[in-house]
């Protein structure tokens, strides 16, 4: 965080240039990924499967969001990612494909996904609410 500029001092173009340069430079997460490492698309933690939700987290720090695909086919959740890079020494491509079978009590129309700034992809599906209700027995008087 830069100090406030004094109203008494002369502000020249160089100060404005440096302020813009250092103001809010943040690289996206895939710029900081370790491209020497071919450990990618791991599960982060365990898959959560309890009575309220089904949740899975993936490390997608090598992939841009536009290079990721999530498809839901019935109960089959498919996550795919492709990344290609060209450098002075050659060519690099990595890809992953993951299929997760959602449990039967998952609420399929409510599946959501979110990606964090550290390259963590989270896909969550709430569980269906119990919709059974007891039906009272009405007595009918016989003639």
């Amino acid at each position: 965080m830069l100090m406030l500029r004094s109203p008494y001092s002369d502000s020249n173009a160089l100060d404005h240039f440096l302020d813009e340069l250092t103001g809010s430079v943040q690289f996206p997460y895939w710029r900081n990924a370790d491209h020497n490492s071919f450990n990618f698309s791991d599960n982060i933690g365990e898959i959560v499967n309890d009575e309220s939700k089904f949740s899975v987290q993936l490390d997608v720090s090598h992939f841009k969001p536009e290079n990721l695909k999530i498809k839901l086919d019935g109960r089959e959740l498919k996550i795919e990612g492709i990344q290609e890079t060209k450098s002075e020494h050659g060519y690099l491509k990595r890809s992953f494909s993951k299929m997760i079978l959602l449990p039967e009590d998952a609420d399929l129309p409510s599946v959501k996904s979110a990606i964090s700034n550290e390259g963590k992809l989270q896909i969550e599906a709430p569980k269906k609410t119990n919709s059974s209700r007891s039906i009272p027995i009405n007595f009918v008087a016989k003639h």
Partner: protein
């Protein structure tokens, strides 16, 4: 508070100079940006050798292939896992064009226990020419009688 100083922003003061110096000093200690990771730690290319280091600890040795076609080095890995919730499949392909002065007949690869794959190739040695001195034959002059 008097607005006199704001209407004349060009007026200098000791306090203003001190604030500007402190701001400039702070900018020197603030890094402009974290450099994006370069490939220099991955590929070593010097006078003695050309080396590539990759982290492939998620792949088994039988999932990896290294192919050399002329000066084109290909490293491929494929892995398939089946879990209780489904399956996971991942693959990578790395194509590296070796420099011209690499001895392609001496490429060697090494996979460590913690999953570091290292491929090294020495550089060709320059042809050592040697100068051949010219031996001058002594000239014999015979006087014919």
């Amino acid at each position: 508070m008097s607005l006199y100083h704001y209407f004349r922003p060009a007026q200098r003061s000791v306090f203003g100079d001190l604030m500007r110096d402190m701001a400039q000093m702070e900018r020197q200690f603030t890094p402009v940006c974290r450099g994006s990771p370069s490939e220099s730690s991955e590929i070593v290319n010097n006078d003695q050798k050309f080396a590539i280091n990759l982290n492939v600890s998620q792949f088994k040795p039988e999932d990896l292939k290294i192919n050399l076609d002329g000066h084109t080095l290909s490293i491929q890995g494929e892995q398939e896992l089946k879990t209780e919730h489904g399956y996971s499949k991942k693959s990578f392909s790395r194509v590296i064009l070796l420099p011209e002065d690499v001895d392609v007949g001496a490429v060697a690869s090494n996979l460590s226990e913690d999953g570091k794959l290292s491929i090294e190739a020495p550089k060709k040695e320059a042809i050592q020419g040697r100068s051949i001195p010219i031996q001058q034959a002594p000239v014999e002059q015979k006087t014919s009688e």
